[in-house]
Amino acid sequence: MPLWFARGLRRGIVTTRYPARPDGSSASLPTPPAFRLAALTRPVADRLCAACPNGALRRENDVLIFDVGACTACGRCADAAPEAVVPSGQFELASTDRSALIKRIPLAGAGR
């Protein structure tokens, strides 16, 4: 029996079942950041904006504007403020509307 055939039998089907079932490798993908509201103050937000190399993050008064389309999931914001930023784990980000990819995140201390 050829070796590749035996190896194939031993491994079984390697093809992912996505989208019918979640794919196991999706947990290890680099994903855009998610923000902890409690730790997201104005100075922290400014630190995040300065750390972002693409300008995906900018602050307008008490709102952090996050352009998901410009985010490269480099993780520099998580390094700059680990208390305020965690990976979002979202990779299914395709959108038919470009403006739906621009998110507005209220800062701590803003009237909410």
Binding site: A56, C71, F91, L93, T96, D97
Partner: protein
């Protein structure tokens, strides 16, 4: 013909021009069309039905660093195997239903991008892939448009640098109306937090 004449403005394509809703096939769509929004939605669903399980993809590299191409190539690898979903790559724009655009749309590609788009038979879908094509990396300058949407009528935007093959699969399935998009519901707040 000058170069300015060849720059395309977004016009009526597969997607409705204003405020397209989620392209979910589970929306029903049996209600009589009463306005342009309903007509556009019904048209979109009928086109998605035509694409069904056979969609041919032409990729267009407009100055990308080729990492998006690496991920697109991986779609055909055994782990992702996009052929099981009825997607195929074709080298000829005349055989293509979907244009997968990568890169920041350099101005040197104006004529080629326009010719590629016009060579495709309708109905056709344009998918912008990666942060460059979404206008996230390069600002508009004399060398690049910086955004695929400035030259081609883009229907679906796939973020990521590069988008993983799973993200690309999701984007392709959104483009043909077989999966609903998730982005409008995402808040990008950490677990258990609300605004």
């Amino acid at each position: 013909m000058s170069r300015e004449d060849l720059t395309m403005t977004p016009n009526g394509n597969v997607g409705p021009a204003g405020g397209p809703g989620p392209a979910s096939s589970a929306e029903g769509g049996r209600t009589p069309a009463s306005g342009t929004g309903d007509v556009a939605r019904e048209l979109r669903q009928r086109i998605a039905g035509q694409f069904g399980r056979s969609l041919h993809i032409r990729t267009l590299d407009t100055g990308s660093c080729a990492v998006c191409e690496q991920e697109i190539r991986l779609l055909a690898a055994p782990h992702y195997d996009l052929h099981r979903l009825g997607f195929f790559f074709t080298p000829a724009p005349r055989h293509a239903d979907l244009l997968l655009v990568t890169g920041p749309m350099i101005r040197a590609m104006d004529v080629a991008a326009r010719k590629t788009y016009e060579a495709m038979p309708g109905p056709k879908v344009v998918v912008a892939t990666g942060a460059c094509a979404l206008g996230g990396i390069y600002p508009e300058d004399p060398f690049v448009h910086g955004d695929a949407g400035k030259v081609l009528p883009v229907d679906v935007w796939i973020p990521g640098c590069p988008p993983s093959p799973l993200a690309l699969l999701h984007g392709l399935l959104v483009a043909v109306g077989r999966l609903a998009e998730k982005t409008p519901g995402l808040t990008f707040l950490a677990d258990g937090e609300t605004r």
